[in-house]
Symmetry: C3
């Protein structure tokens, strides 16, 4: 058993949920915030059998797209220290995924 922890952009959250449901995968979603841009994103927790990890990663790759975000200078860099004079272009990935080992899975 593995726990797939995937941080995706809010824009892709609904499409990812639907794609997972369509293929019979279960997931739990958490509202999260990026540490750099401090804008909202979504963290998915997807528990799957070891053999299903590649299939779930493929679903994430198909539904979540890398985008360029134009960010007001004051919002970049975590706060007050960096202050560029123009809006900054930041590339935000489709997904950042951690596959965690699971010792035990219990479904009560």
């Amino acid at each position: 058993m593995k726990l797939v922890v995937a941080v995706v952009q809010d824009k892709d959250s609904h499409a990812l949920s639907q794609a997972l449901v369509a293929k019979g995968y279960r997931a739990t979603k958490l509202a999260s915030t990026g540490g750099f841009l401090r804008s909202g994103n979504t963290t998915f927790l997807i528990g799957v059998d070891d053999a299903q990890v590649d299939a779930v990663l493929a679903i994430i790759e198909e539904t979540c797209r890398r985008r360029t975000q134009l960010v007001p200078p004051s919002e970049v860099g975590g706060g007050t220290e960096s202050f560029a004079p123009y809006p900054v272009e930041v590339s935000v990935g489709g997904a950042t995924v951690f596959v965690l080992p699971v010792d035990r899975f219990v479904h009560l």
Copy 2:
């Protein structure tokens, strides 16, 4: 050390918190959403010694009950694709639990 990640129904969140506190366990709660029903639920993070895992699972089992939820057809299935003509009965588990191994635990 293990990190118990337990997704439970909101209705049982308070009872589970109280039961954990009464037995001296520490926990952190996250507001979450189910990928299928898209209704709110609660994800508990409970860090415990290896020897305490069974006891914590027992507490979760005692406080969290499986229920049947009647769901409007439009809310089932992640979104827009499936549309049953009647409300759908969905069985929602007391808890979905992942026990994760922990390399290091630091309490600052």
Copy 3:
């Protein structure tokens, strides 16, 4: 690769974000709640290479401080059972940190 899961006080969340960004570390933040005091706190997810774990723990230690919180008696203990006559002083740690092993890391 490791996933550092750090529960910190809301007061320290901004300072921790800035310190992580300044050193080039990436993080995702989740709004969370303590199981005992039931007040809001923040859970950071910080994915790092094995060799960077000590450096990240040092950053957390430098930015997150243990404080004493004065808590109304009715808020202590998870709910309705314990009811002290006076406000209770509770020591709340700078951070509670779990370092989790990661089988795979994918950045799409």
